[in-house]
Amino acid sequence: MADITNQSLNDIIENLKKKKVSSTDLTKAYIKNIESAKKLNAFVTTTFDQALDKAKQFDKKPNFDQLLPGIPLAVKDLFCTENIKTTAGSNILNNFIPSYESTVTKNLWDNGSFLLGKLNCDEFAMGSSNETSHYGNVINPVGDQLVPGGSSGGSSSALAADLTPATIGTDTGGSIRQPASFTGTVGLKPTYGLCSRWGIVAFASSLDQAGPMTKTIKDCAIMLESMSGFDEKDSTSINKKKEQYSKNLKDNIKGLKIGIPKEYRVDNMPKEIDELWEKGKKILKDLGAQLIDISLPHTKYALPTYYIVAPAEASSNLARYDGVRYGYRSKQGKDLIEMYEKTRSEGFGDEVKRRILIGTYVLSSGYYDAYYLKAQKVRQLIKKDFDDSFTKIDAILTPSTPSSAFKIGEKTNDPVSMYLNDIFTVPVNLAGLPALSLPAGVDKKGFPLGLQLIGKALDEQKILNIGYAFEKNCGFKNEIKKWWS
């Protein structure tokens, strides 16, 4: 049979059901791929032996009443995994082995899947290119020397390179959608509160949200259904009935109203992005959707607002990494204060330090009102923009990113240009809404580009449906040559 690892998750599940492949052979195929893809540096930790044991157990007693029967999955190293090292891409957690399993990964395992390994990411999910990881750059399979996006760069790279049939990431300001866009894959940031944050190493609590990264929309629906759900251990988790996203997937979008926000046409946007957006509009229109021009007037304040709120929360969330109870502790330091200073200086990388400093500054007495408090007010206005628009429309279509994947090192010395990568993705996090990035085309270099569909809170099904119809009619095919093996 043809290489099973380049199939969609849904096809793999079908093949497993039809006994065309066993979970063990499937797992072995991925292990082989992973071992020949070390150049990509997508993995921080692999758990092959454990995965093979689980696969054998599954094959002995297969249960196909589950959403992810016998599926090996690699996950971002921001999810705490029981007895498996969890680093968050940081030196300060280089020896940290949790005694607990995050709710989201537990949900995945409870649906029949098992862990294949932990995927590289930007340190504490702070970055847009996976270049801030203590464990080195990740390479985009689209091309040598290209970043895979970030912070879920290990996830996007592994998925596009067929090192895992699907994966999960976390998205605080675009960390799922931007890498999905850079690798020609599907990424969904769910509504804030749909997936539990319990057991995920926190970056910015009011923005962090876990979500699926997959090759197809159908896969995305399967993964979302598996990982989401109310969790009483997370006070911000939404208590609602579980939805059957994959079963309810429909490709009829006739009559749906799609908002096109004029503020997303930014200065100096490459022509290719504009053309991609036009292509997307045409596809949806041809499918019977109605395009409506809308305005989200506070969009331009989203990025500065985000870069106040996220670092503020991060500066507090990362205070626990102090060398006292777990993780890295500097051997030097003659008293408590010095131990803190050395531990955190040696344990954190530059980008994390930069954000801790920004966050500490904006919360400081005398600056709080001017920065943090004002940012919270602007955040409400941004949310209100969306709320107002969604009285008239069903979803919003925008580009996912202002460019395709860039070269490693291209933006590392210019944090602001790096931050600008998130310009289309951060408003959604500030508003707590669901948004999907789906592959829509390539630029003239042949690098993938994505479009973003934003939905109302808890309207994941609708944007998945639109994405499903779009996917069928877009004709995008991710042509990745396995140059690394």
């Binding site: 607990y100 190493v201 926190a202 251990k233 507090s316 102090d322 109870r325 408590l336 919360l363």
Partner: protein, 489 residues
Amino acid sequence: MSKEKFDYFIKGEKGKYEVVIGLEVHAQVLSKSKLFSGSSTKFGADPNNQVSLIDSAFPGMLPVINEECVKQAIRTGLGLNAKINNYSVFDRKNYFYADLPQGYQISQYKNPIVGEGKVLLDMPYGSKEIGIERLHLEQDAGKSIHDMDPSNTYVDLNRSGIALMEIVSKPDLRSPDEVNAYIKKLRSIMRYLGTCDGNMQEGSLRADVNVSVRKEGDTNFGTRCEIKNVNSIKFMQMAIEYEAARQVELIENGEKIDQETRLFDTKKNETRSMRSKEDAHDYRYFPDPDLLPLKLEQKLINDLKKSLPELPDKKKERFVKEYGLNAYEANVLVSEKEISDYYEEVAKLSDKKLAATWMMGDLFAMLNDRGLDISKSPISAKHFAELVQAIKSGEISGRIAKEVFEIMVESGDNPKKIIESKGMKQQSDPKELEKMINEILSKNKDKVDQYKAGKEKLFGFFVGQVMKLSGGKANPQLTNEILKKLLKG
């Protein structure tokens, strides 16, 4: 009753100074588990045995509010006659310390759960109202232990995350005595409510004391100093006295008082500077994004209000009205819930006034001597009531009652049994008494003559003889009556 006048001033050379005190009391919430985790709150466990992943701030751990702690805070707020806020917010107070695992304490800053209230104090110079500024919920920190090892500090996180209520008073207190009365009243209210055990030895009740002084008659407040974390009333009083005197001396010498945080050194009995206002921490408060604002339904508040027990002020009023006690007696007997319960049980079965007198006298003295709470009293309320009734009915005299009381303490027997088995019953049969008295009078004819000649002081001698002959059991009242009658004849 003439009332005393308030008179607590620090006398300087240039005048009298009034002391202004405000307290921030930290009261540990009585609850089985911590404010945001399921760990036990029991006192005295081995170090780090009551610590969850949340209390020790492992990556990805999230706080979930303990509803019982919220209810306890509401009950306490209601007990302090305070406004309960339907909307309150948990904030993070950020600072680094080895026994603060999260690197921040979850507390309430701008929007506390309880707003303004008041507490009534009974002072010798009348009743005084102390304003409550607010009450908020917060997490306790762990404990750093510096004296177990010469070069290392050990950390015990058992306390980390336990719920505290910080009760902030207005600067309405004016003397160490008022502080004493205030803390005792707060403690009494919380113990009635069952919201805090008030155990100061175990650290369940501690306070930061704000002290300033001003010339008598001034209306502006002076610069205040905050004395941190004082854990006994005695130390609070000593710290206030020291601090007030220190501030007066500075003023009289023309020096400035710096607003600062100070520590009370219990060995040297002095306060000393911990950090100045300039060095004060910048806590970078902001709303905790892991927790939603706390929204309370009015129904919950109303239901809790309905289920509140009778509190000391109300109970005191009732004791005066229902049992005919004076204000002083009522005050003492309602000071602790267990005492008032004991009294009410005794009063149900015996003379109410006499019960109060005997409880506040012999019973309290005995408990005090033995260092016992009334709940551990060797004499049950039922037995104590029987004793009171035996006195009231004249079955035994007061003097004998004291003996019976002692035996009750030692044996735990009921008074009837003791009185009967030891033949301690009072001699109240007039015929028997008359016989006895006649015997004495006939033996002391000379004294009888002297008495009749006007030496009335001898009456006491005859009473003494009767008591001696009866072994102390003669009914004193009857003895008096019969003696008078026979001496006349």
